[in-house]
Amino acid sequence: MHEFSLATSMVDLVKANCPEGEELESITIEAGPMRGIEPQAMQWAWEAATQHTPIAGCKLQLIQQPWKLHCPDCQTSFEADDMFTDCECGCDKTSPVDCDNLRLVRLTLKDKVGVSDS
């Protein structure tokens, strides 16, 4: 259920960052695998947290990042689907790094009807 807490935090953050007089089409969130976010639960929580607010109907684009692992032997970092992935060099002591991101990265505004870009 931490998805709902995150959703309410996102609503506050989005309201604080949305330019006045604009309507939101969607927001984009990047989440690291450490955060343990379940996408369906996150979507449901977002809908529940935004209903009856000025940003009701705004969609949530969730980008789930892969694991980023660091190899202590060859000092390289690589991406993987599983946390316990060995390095190509054969090392089995890889550790996760920068896997707990949780960031709002984009607000997408609705096009205003009758207003041209030119």
Partner: protein, 214 residues
């Protein structure tokens, strides 16, 4: 039109956590966020800690629970400085709840504050409360796979405790797997084996007292 932006989703929580951290630091209180699953023995550990530490340090406790004041009632037998925070439907404590709890404690009289988080190994980890360190509590009865299944607490913790060591002969628990998974997720985290109900917690108490120079 896209507006690129980079904001931490938990920015507001983190701002309040920073205020908590400043308040606690100014009062000279070392603060531990104790995180473990339901039934891992968080409250039993605190009861045993009070028994063992006695008057060597004054410890306050903030107890987070969905409902009931049972944990706070148990702890209040040992400690006058306990505040219950009921989170309702919330599965973790947030910095603002802790902020309100701090207002109800005489921080100047405390050496250590333990925040007993809501029983949960996932959600509490991501919310900074203003603590000095996070301590993760596992128990052998939960199985050896918990670090692998809940890497975030292993990653974030300064210290991990493995409780209910007296039950080890009676449960299926591979200590090698448990330790290997932990050292792979977080090679620097400290691990201590404890048993709260029979008072086998000296190493943990020494760690805690060392944090406040006692």
């Amino acid at each position: 039109m896209d507006i690129p932006i980079v904001e931490n989703v938990l920015k507001l929580n983190d701002e309040v956590a920073a205020i908590n951290r400043k308040t606690l630091k100014e009062a000279g209180v070392y603060t531990v966020d104790l995180i473990g699953s339901p039934g891992s023995g968080k409250t039993s550990l605190l009861e045993a800690t009070f028994k063992a530490i006695g008057d060597k340090a004054r410890i306050g406790v903030l107890v987070g629970d969905l409902t009931t004041a049972r944990d706070a009632t148990r702890i209040s037998k040992w400690c006058p400085d306990v505040v219950q925070i009921n989170t309702g439907k919330g599965c973790h404590l947030d910095a603002n709840q802790v902020r309100q709890g701090l207002d109800r404690l005489k921080l100047d009289e405390l050496d250590i504050l333990v925040i007993e988080n809501v029983g949960n190994l996932i959600c509490p980890v991501g919310f900074d409360l203003g603590q000095d360190s996070k301590v993760g509590l596992f128990s052998v009865a939960e199985g050896d796979d918990k670090p692998a299944k809940h890497p975030y607490i292993v990653m974030e913790a300064e210290l991990l405790l493995l409780n209910k060591m007296d039950l080890l002969p009676h449960v299926t628990f591979d200590m090698d797997i448990f330790k290997e998974d932990i050292s792979r997720i977080n090679p620097t985290v400290q691990l201590m084996e404890v048993c709260a109900t029979n008072g086998w917690i000296n190493e943990w108490c020494d760690w805690l007292l060392a944090k406040v120079g006692k």
